[in-house]
Structure formats: structure tokens, C-alpha cells
């Protein structure tokens, strides 16, 4: 760990800027994501606050040079607190014509465009759908293009290492990274260390990439840059003192679930089936076996949910994970966990739908599915993470509620949160009170559905416990004995009790607070999940302009905090921005009879701050 101070400008003419948005874009196989994540780590070490947005194509390796094979990685970093990956990039690094074609429209006027001119061949231009070479016509007139034959320069820089031309060209992402590092005064050491570790078994590859990195850096320093290109220094952000790390939503969720299981004194059993974008959580937990985590790749989504239920039945905390289509398949099993009142955590990394939809694009359109999406009256707990780091807190809360109330808990994340990273002030584990599970062992008056009068939870008995052998199942149980019961009155009582148990959780969660602004006033912007970044920045900008607007962000989607209805009642208007067609808005209207208004988009991209600002403006003017 190193204490970081602002890096000295290397040249007197370095201009100071508050924040910069850079987007790296190229073919799926160009190493764009690696370039982005290396820049992210290095930027965090420079003390900047940051947010990232990796954007993958659905195809793993789409045909090279095509627009649908373009992969991108955006990072917003700066001296101020950064809430989103940013609206319009200041800098675009395009590794080929297709990457330029797809991303140019997003770059703000005057933005810096770094292109690998060596890839602008007739064939590649044709594949990207350019009729004329954009480097030669007026396409780039409103930007500051930096045309460099990166392919050729990279090949020259790696010549001494005896790589094939194909292998050599793979180093061009690091050549370009070297150039960008120079532009923003970044230290190359962490990336060099990373390359040496990553390619420990193939040192020639590590050396070639390091040579490319250094060559790109040297090129930027020594080449005669066009007049208007100057380098920038971004001073460190004003972050709260403490020890920080970068964290993705995936790692934060894995650690949150592990921390939760440790606080509950339970074994973590993670049962999943691969699906984009949820698989990374399975991968992350599969690497934590030394922490007694057992991961199981089941034969399908249903088996994943069922094996997790089997695990909880046997006394572990069973967790399953998927994205919307997979959660749909798990529905019947979730109903079993509701009926047998067993703990179960279902992590849903949402993606755009319906059906296969857009697997790699983000959306938050599974709120109805989570709250309502099962047969019969089947209440459970729904939580939503607001940011990558927030997944840690939500993971712990999910374990706490699932075990205390013997209930399934759905945790909503999304494709953006899963892949994005942010600096995270590492919490102090001593601040989390343990909630160890006490398995029931007392034979006195036992039956499997004898409830705790306070929580309405039933006792959790592990198989293997002597003299408490009992049978449970999906058939309705007698309230009084736990045996099968076909009695209609009893079913009414059990249905009411299951609902009361979940509703009662509203009193065991923190009251809803206001993120920013007054408790009451003209307008509340109410959000959930990954809209947190753009909403918080938009509200803070509008408040700086003197607008009467507040930001409320929900973690507990079901049940909702006990005070939420009263709190929302204190505002004249309620605006609900969501990456769906208005799902939370419907629930708020149904629960509190409030005339909530929606701001909705499902274009596979996070909200732009400016979009939310415009909507706030419209509401305040109305």
C-alpha cells in the first residue's frame, strides 16, 4: 500500500482539469477491457475518484473490424467526487474504423480522438460502413484528431522479441496506454508489475508489452504533437480520509455474501448456472474456496436454485445467482423456499429483456419479477444495490434478513454494477455486529412451523439433530402442528402469516433517509439500483443552482421502509427515473396512492446526468 500524493506535472505547460472522461474502443479481441482496467487501477493510485463503464458486445469474438464487434471501456476520473462513468467522453481512443464509427456520436465537440491510422484500410473502412476515409474528409472537423499509425509503431517497438506479426499487434493496446499515461501524467509502474505477474510463465510476452507501453509513452513525450494537443494533469479528488481500493460490483457482492455468512456463522453454498452478466459472481466465489466457500455449477437454473434450497435445508446459507431469464426458471423453486420458509438468496444481475433481449446491456426491468413474479401469494424480501461498492452492504443485509426471517431474499444488481469499478473506502469489519444463527435443538413442544412470536420465523433445524426428525414440503402446513393440511381456513391463516412475517421486516430495516436535499418540498427524485450515480449528480447540480429538489434512493424494495409513505407525502411531486418502463413507479403508486411520475429509458445505457437534469427542470417548471 502506498500513500499517494498528487503527481508533479512533468512539463510546465500541463493544464489542470477537474475531470476527464476517456473511452477506449476497439475489436472484442483488441484488449480494450484490459487497457481500461489498467488505466483504472493506475488512476486510483493517482488519488482520483473514478467511475467506469465497460460495454461489451454480445458476441465473444465477433468478426474483426465490424461495428457489432466493438467493445468499449469508459472511465470518468477527476478531482471532484465522481458519481457516474460520465455523459460525453472528452477523449476517444479508437483502435479501428468500426470503433470510431460506433463511438464518435458520443464524443463532445472539441474532444480528443486518438485513432490507429494503420487500421484505416479500404477493407476495414468498408466493414465499418464508411464510404470515405473519415481521417481524410470533414468527419473529424469538430474534434481534435490525433492520427497515429499505432499498428506500425507497436510492431517496431516489439521487434526485438521475435513475436509473430499477429502476436506483436496484440501489444498495441499497451502502446496506446503508454501514450494516454503520458497525457495524464500517470505512473507506468503498476502496469509493468501487473504484466510481469500476469505473464510470469511467458516472460517474452510481458517484455514485449512493457516495451510497447514504454514506446507509446516515449512517442507522446518526444513526438511533435499537433499544436492543440497538450497534456493534462488531473489533481487528486477530495475523498474522505481512509484506506481505499478499487472494487467491481462482482467482487463486492462475493465479499458481501462471504462476510454475511461469516457474521451468521454459516457455510456459504453458492449454486449457479452460467448466464451473462451474472457468471462473474460464480467465478469470483469459485476462487474463495480457501474461505470454506463451496461453489456448485448446476446443470440448469432450476437445479441451481434447488441445490441452494437443499443447502439451506441442511444448515448452510444457500445462494443462487442469475439474470432475469434464469430467475424466471427458478420461480417455482423460490415458491418452495417461501412455502417451506427456508433462507435462500437469489442474486439477479439484471440485463435488458424480455427473453434473451440484450444480454450485455444493462437494464433494471426485473422489479416486477422480483416483487410479484411468482404464482400465488408469495411474498419475499427484495433488496437493490446502488453501486459496485454498495453490493458489499447489500450482500450482508441479504444474509441477515434471510436467516433471521427464514425467507428467500432477492438481491437486484445489474450489468452495469457487475462490471463497473469504483474506489471504495474499505469498511471496518468491527462496525458490523455479528448475527450468528442458532439452530433449533430443543425437543420441548417442537413442531417445524412453530413460530417465534416476534419475527414469526419458524425454527431452523438441521438434519442430523437427534429427536427433531420432521418432514416439510410444498403442501400447505397446519399452523398448529406443521403437518400437511388441506383445511381452507388454515390456508387463509398461513397465507396471512407469511405476508405478516415479510411485512414485519419493514420495522427491522433502517427508516428511509433523504440522500440529498430537504425532507419535503417541491420535488423528490426517487430511485433504486444503479441510477444512483446519475440521479445524485443531477440533483446535486440542480441544488447548486438553487432548485428545491431532493434525492431519495431505495435499498429495501420489498418490504419498503415503514416511514416511506409519510416521507414521500411531504413532497409536491415525485419523479422516478428508471431503466425500465415504470416498475418502481407502479409499486409506489399502488402502495401509497401517490401520483409518481416516471422518467424511463431502456436503451441499454445508464442515464445521462443531463437527461435527469432536464426532467427535474421540467417538473419544477410544471
Amino acid at each position: 500500500m502506498a500513500a499517494v500524493t498528487a503527481e508533479e506535472p512533468q512539463r510546465a505547460e500541463r493544464a489542470h482539469v477537474d475531470s476527464v472522461i476517456i473511452r477506449f474502443a476497439g475489436d472484442s479481441g483488441d484488449g480494450v477491457q484490459i487497457t481500461g482496467s489498467q488505466f483504472t487501477d493506475t488512476t486510483a493510485l493517482a488519488g482520483n475518484d473514478l467511475a467506469t463503464f465497460p460495454d461489451f458486445p454480445a458476441e465473444i469474438r465477433a468478426p474483426a473490424g465490424t461495428t457489432f464487434g466493438v467493445s468499449a471501456f469508459q472511465i470518468n476520473f477527476g478531482a471532484q467526487s465522481i458519481a457516474t462513468a460520465g455523459d460525453e467522453p472528452d477523449v476517444l481512443v479508437a483502435f479501428n474504423p468500426a470503433a470510431l464509427k460506433v463511438n464518435l456520436k458520443d464524443i463532445h465537440s472539441g474532444g480528443l480522438i486518438i485513432v490507429d491510422s494503420g487500421t484505416f484500410t479500404a477493407r476495414n473502412l468498408d466493414k465499418a460502413g464508411f464510404e470515405n476515409n473519415p481521417l481524410e474528409d470533414d468527419t473529424l472537423d469538430k474534434y481534435r484528431p490525433l492520427k497515429i499509425d499505432i499498428s506500425k509503431l507497436t510492431l517496431e517497438s516489439v521487434k526485438p522479441f521475435g513475436l509473430t506479426s499477429k502476436e506483436g499487434l496484440r501489444c498495441k493496446n499497451f502502446w496506446t496506454l503508454g501514450l494516454v499515461y503520458w497525457l495524464y501524467g500517470r505512473d507506468r509502474t503498476p502496469t509493468i508489475d501487473w504484466l510481469n505477474k500476469k505473464f510470469a510463465s511467458r516472460p517474452e510476452i510481458a517484455e514485449a508489452n512493457i516495451a510497447a507501453l514504454n514506446a507509446g509513452h516515449a512517442f507522446a513525450e518526444t513526438a511533435e504533437m499537433p499544436g492543440e494537443i497538450s497534456s493534462y494533469v488531473v489533481p487528486p479528488a477530495e475523498l474522505e480520509p481512509g484506506v481505499y481500493r478499487n472494487i467491481t460490483g462482482t467482487d463486492a457482492m462475493a465479499w458481501g455474501l462471504l462476510a454475511g455468512s461469516q457474521l451468521a456463522d454459516l457455510k456459504l453454498m453458492f449454486c449457479s448456472y452460467p448466464i451473462t452478466p451474472a457468471s462473474s459472481l460464480l467465478h469470483a466465489l469459485a476462487r474463495l474456496k480457501h474461505h470454506d466457500v463451496v461453489t456448485f455449477q448446476a446443470e440448469d437454473e432450476i437445479a441451481a436454485a434447488c441445490s441452494a434450497i437443499g443447502a439451506s435445508y441442511t444448515g448452510a446459507i444457500g445462494v443462487t445467482s442469475s439474470s432475469g431469464p434464469g430467475v424466471a426458471l427458478k420461480g417455482e423453486a423460490i415458491g418452495l423456499a417461501i412455502s417451506t420458509e427456508l433462507p435462500l438468496i437469489i442474486v439477479n444481475s439484471q440485463r435488458a429483456g424480455p427473453s434473451t433481449g440484450l444480454p450485455t446491456k444493462t437494464e433494471q426491468s426485473d422489479l416486477y419479477q422480483s416483487v410479484y413474479g411468482r404464482n400465488a401469494d408469495s411474498p419475499l424480501v427484495v433488496l437493490a444495490a446502488r453501486s459496485p461498492a454498495d453490493c458489499f452492504e447489500v450482500g450482508i443485509e441479504a444474509v441477515r434478513l434471510a436467516t433471521k426471517y427464514m425467507t428467500p431474499v432477492i438481491v437486484l444488481s445489474d450489468g452495469y454494477i457487475v462490471n463497473a469499478a469504483e474506489p471504495w473506502k474499505i469498511p471496518n469489519m468491527a462496525d458490523y455486529p455479528p448475527f450468528p444463527v442458532k439452530f433449533h435443538t430443543d425437543t420441548e413442544g417442537f413442531h417445524p412451523f412453530k413460530r417465534d412470536p416476534e419475527t414469526l420465523s419458524r425454527p431452523w433445524v438441521k438434519p442430523g439433530t437427534p429427536d427433531l426428525e420432521h418432514r416439510i414440503g410444498g403442501i400447505e402446513k397446519s399452523y398448529d402442528s406443521g403437518h400437511i393440511s388441506y383445511d381452507a381456513e388454515n390456508h387463509q391463516k398461513m397465507t396471512d402469516t407469511r405476508a405478516a412475517k415479510i411485512n414485519g421486516i419493514a420495522n427491522d430495516i433502517p427508516p428511509q433517509t433523504v440522500e440529498d436535499g430537504a425532507e419535503g418540498g417541491k420535488l423528490a427524485v426517487v430511485g433504486w439500483g444503479s441510477t444512483y450515480g446519475p440521479i445524485s449528480r443531477a440533483v446535486s447540480n440542480m441544488r447548486a443552482d438553487g432548485c428545491d429538489v431532493s434525492h431519495i434512493h431505495l435499498r429495501h424494495i420489498w418490504p419498503m421502509p415503514a416511514n416511506l409513505g409519510d416521507l414521500l407525502g411531504k413532497y409536491e411531486r415525485i419523479l422516478v427515473p428508471e431503466m425500465n418502463n415504470g416498475q418502481l413507479r407502479t409499486v409506489l403508486r399502488a402502495e401509497y396512492l401517490l401520483p409518481a411520475i416516471g422518467l424511463n429509458q431502456v436503451n441499454g445505457q445508464p442515464f445521462k446526468i443531463s437527461t435527469i437534469e432536464a426532467a427535474i427542470h421540467e417538473q419544477l417548471e410544471a
Binding site: D292, F296, A333, T443, E469, R471, I472
Partner: protein, 342 residues
Amino acid sequence: MTVVQTPEKLTAKDLTSDQEVRWCPGCGDYAIIKGVRNALAEIGTPRENTVFVSGIGCAARFPYYMATYGFHTIHGRAPAIATGVKLTNPELDVWVVTGDGDCLSIGGNHTLHVLRRNVDVNVLLFNNEIYGLTKGQYSPTSKTGTRSPSTPMGSVDQPVSATEFALGSGARFVARSVDTLQKHLPVVLKRAHAHKGASFIEIFQNCIVYNDGAFSHFTDRKIAADTQVHVEHGKPMLFGQDSEKGIRLNAELQKLEVVTLGENGVEESDVLIHDETNKPLATLVAHMQPPEFPVALGVIYCEEGPEFTDAVYNQVDAAKAQNKAVPMAELLHSGHTWEVTR
């Protein structure tokens, strides 16, 4: 709920719960549960360490009638839930009770995978070749032409052979018995329990209401001797009233055939010796069907192999030997961190 102390010597009665049995009078399930209780009493695992997991169907009510731990789950998914149970506590004896629809139709995928993974659970398939609980529709094991409410002109699809499916899935213990064979069934069940890994036992079960007599062509006492061959490892495959018939491998045609001792110069030494570790032979034996052949009962295939939960925990142990499990606080600080001072 009344609490009964587990006595020193377990009896079938100790394994009987206080719940009223709801199967139809005359159902083959009564005989099977009797056989299972007898087998478990002999096995002697304490009741608290035995778990019955079932799916949906008539057979799936089974756990309610056993005084052990029991989980009546959802249609077809018992093998997946049982896998979660065994993976969480490998010390438990886990039994899956399933029917032909549950096991081979809606749950076929899970049956395949619990068997190929070789999870140490015992899968008891109650095969009655019909859907009983939903009132008599044909099932995936029903013979072609089965008339049922959903197939009034007779079913048109080919049935699946449960044992051949299990062998094809990679099961390492495959056996067959009949509900009424009260001496045979517990022996097979005890062998299944002793086998480390997934065990698959097809039990031919008579549904007295919707498919009465489906198996009488080989289970009727009068003809059983001529229509059943009870296979035993290392013993010749002889059958018939006086053990006068046998199964011979016709090497030239690479198929089995029925021979009669003393006819055409056939001697007992010509009769195939059952080798339960020989999978190609097991496949041929499982394939035998009346009227050309007798039905093979007993342990058709049994061969030890790496068990799933063992392998999973071996990896956990290997990971622990390689990497120290640090406290959570330390894990959060692993990798690149930096301090903001100001």
C-alpha cells in the same frame, strides 16, 4: 409432535412416522415402504442422519411416512435438492424417492446429472408406467399404445428404459427389483446404500387404480421363474422352475440369447457369469425384455468411482493448503490499496 427416543436396535416400526398413509388400498407403494423400512432397520443409520427427498407424484408422499428427516419438494427436482443436501453435509444418508414421470419426464435432466456426477445418494425410482396423482395419463415409461385420458387412441411414442437411461448417464450402481419381492428388495437397497456414489434402483410398482397388472407378464408368481432372471455377481445367469434355462452370449452375433441346459449340447459352463463391473454386459442385460428374454432383477451394474462431494471437498482442502484463509478485514485489504490522508 411426539418425541420418540431412538432405541439401540432400530426396527421398521421406529422408522414409521405418525402420519396417516394416503396411498390407495392395494398400491405397490405399501410394499415398497415396508421393504425400505426393513432395509433401513438393518442398515441401522440413526434416524436423525437419514434424509428422504422427493419430488411430486404418488411416490413423492413417501417422506411423510418415514420417521426420519424428510423434504417433499417440487416436480422433478428432488435430485438437485438432494445434491444440495449431500454437498452441505456429506455425513447424511440421502435417499431420493421418485416416480417415472418425476424422474424421467419433468426431472430427466436432474436424474442424468446426479448420476453422472456420482453424488452419494440413493435414487429409488417407483416405476408404475403411468401418472397416478394426475389421474391416469400415460408416462414416459408407458408401452406404446397405452390408452389413457390424454391418449384415448393409445400413445404413439416409444418408452424410455429407466435402467438403460441410468447406465447411459454414467450411473455406477444400477439395480432392479419389484415391489412385492420382499426378500429381494431389502437386499438390493442395502447394496445401494453400501455403494459410495449415486445408486439407481428401478422398482417395478403396481398401480392398482390406473395401470393394474402392467408388470404381471413377469411378476405373476406362476410365471415369475420363467420370466425373471435374478443376477448375482460371479454367478451364472440361470432361471426357470428348475434353473434349467440360462443366458448365453452369442459372440458371433454379439448378442444375448436364451438357452436350455441339456439342449443342443448346452452345458452350465456355456451360461454367462454375471460380472456387475462389466458395463457393456450390464447394458445388454438391462436391455432384455419379455417375451424373448426374462427381465433381469438385482444389481445389474456396480463399479466404484470418484464420488462428487469427496472431490468437491478435496478441492476445498487443496485450496486451503495453498492459500491461508485470512480474516475478512484482511481480505478486503488484499491487492492494491491506497491511503487518502488530508
